[in-house]
Symmetry: C2
Subunit: 327 residues, 2 copies
């Protein structure tokens, strides 16, 4: 199934089913008012949602309308928790060089993860208001999973079975603030403003073979101001989402709707490009001896879309955002 | 005004006003169903709530019942954000010695803060389920503020003006997990299971002179298994709550109901004792050459209550919790 959330002035927005071809949307208020509502009552609503989704795809769902991603909030405009890993070790190792921070202990065997704000997510086409360009404005292309209830201390296999939906994420970052926050040991806070999401959240079956081994085997195509920036493959993730969710739930239960992110998608191959500016900058330093690329300026745009290996569009739709000065 | 939340099977619980003497409670469903609901509509509901609170204190509020803290959830069973500082520098400096971590840069001038889980808070008398005693189970007595909407990049003075309520907190910590998470630079995650709250959240005026300079000038009396552990003074906080809230809002707006914590209350005077075990342990090491105190065991109890300087009870009520093995 494919889900989106239309802005309607409420904190959780209005749930719609999106047809497999992405052209039609169907509100289902008689089943669930919001995606969070659906996730909280999943065992009861999954069947009726599937029935309406099948009807929508057959073209015989009364009340379906054209789907307009421009009217979308994040699939979950707010979520109980947003926990973001750094599961592409290539990215993490490059960031250590970029930030000149000490090697992270046990980085190969224990996931790292921070908790971000989950009360105020941005929609796929929302402007990104930030206080100053001096903070080092950067995008970060990621994949993530939305969980059902996860019991405390769940195993990776049990945690993976709790995955309900897969999402595509732009985890905005302020690079001038990150290194200090890492050095405090308390982790990212000011360095992580509101996170944005592609319009469509999907059940794992929508990815077919591209969802395997607890990983999203899609390339994340990133453009900055209309120019190609990279298309790294999500399948190179060093920890699976099962391992990430289990890490998150080690000493806490996760309530339905909690989101766990992969961290910036990153490939060993230089040819894949990057999904964030900080990574390109450190590669420039390593490979060319100097940093040539600056961070984002107000008015800059970033565009992200997952694609299958054959180049066809992934199911999440497009993130396209502009950075603007906060009022 | 004094507020509490009764457990009723919903995520946000049932709001009640609590009389100033703590003896009576009054549900106000015609004004607000939950404390979060009230905070989201504060400009509209504050006046009607005050009218009912005054009636409750006069003894002529129809429908008032005996207030039973044992039936309480946290005042906000879930909150948009939970951001916890470490604003008592004495505590932070002792922790550096306890964990053998490098000095935090700019610790005197820039607050440190982590984001914790805010979807699953514990009530004042809830058991604390944890996976293993080997994690180094510790309590942390704190104060905190609940905010109205805070705009991005608010000044400390503007941020302080956004404080709606004051709360008393037990920020459960797992000390065996903290040092590793600090060394990763990503901050506390597994080291911070669900946080607990005293039953009553109060508007600042309820503290009288004990709320001044953006600080809570009350002593936090802590007992562990019935024995006195400490009673440090919240007024010794090195950063004000205005400074902490402004730090939290530097690159994000805070939505109504966000909670900002002080970090463990800690005083320079050894005579005040401590509000967490880790601090007592490092003091033992420094002053006596060896650690004598272990962390908590399953079945252990902690009790926390704020008191005015004259020894009279503070307005928040009692936290009294037992640590139990997670199922």
């Amino acid at each position: 199934m494919k889900f989106a959330t239309l802005k309607n002035g409420t904190l959780d927005g209005r749930l719609v089913l999106v047809s497999r071809d992405g052209r039609h949307a169907l509100a289902v208020p008689q089943i669930a008012t919001s995606l969070l509502d659906a996730l909280q009552r999943w065992p009861v609503v999954a069947g009726p949602l599937q029935e309406r989704y099948d009807a929508l795809n057959r073209g015989d769902a009364d009340g379906s309308v054209a789907f307009d991603p421009a009217t979308c909030a994040a699939p979950l405009p707010r979520s109980p928790q947003w926990l973001d890993g750094s599961a592409f070790l290539n990215h993490g190792r490059l960031m250590e060089q970029a930030f000149n921070t000490p090697p992270i202990p046990h980085f190969d065997t224990v996931p790292v993860m921070y908790q971000g704000a989950s009360d105020d997510f941005l929609g796929p086409h929302d402007d990104v208001p930030l206080p100053t360009e001096a903070d080092g404005i950067d995008f970060e292309g990621e994949f993530g999973v939305v969980c059902g209830p996860v019991p405390m201390a769940a195993s990776p296999a049990a945690a993976l079975a709790c995955v309900r939906l897969i999402v595509q994420i732009n985890d905005w970052s302020l690079r001038a603030l990150g290194p200090h926050e890492m050095k405090t040991g308390f982790g990212f806070l000011q360095a992580k403003p509101s996170t944005a999401f592609a319009p469509v959240a999907v059940t794992p079956d929508e990815l077919g073979d591209a969802w395997r081994d607890g990983r999203v085997h899609l390339r994340l195509h990133v453009q900055w101001n209309g120019e190609r920036f990279g298309e790294p493959d999500g399948g190179e993730m060093n920890f699976s989402f099962g391992e990430l969710v289990a890490h998150a739930a080690r000493t806490r239960r996760l309530t339905a709707g909690s989101i766990v992110g992969s961290g910036t998608v990153s490939n060993l191959s230089r040819g894949a490009g990057s999904a964030c500016i900080a990574e390109r900058r450190v590669i420039e330093k390593i490979d060319q001896g100097e940093i040539r690329t600056g961070f984002m300026r107000f008015g800059d745009r970033v565009r992200m879309q997952a694609r299958f290996d054959d180049g066809s569009e992934g199911p999440f739709g497009l993130i396209e955002q502009q950075v603007v000065p906060a009022r």
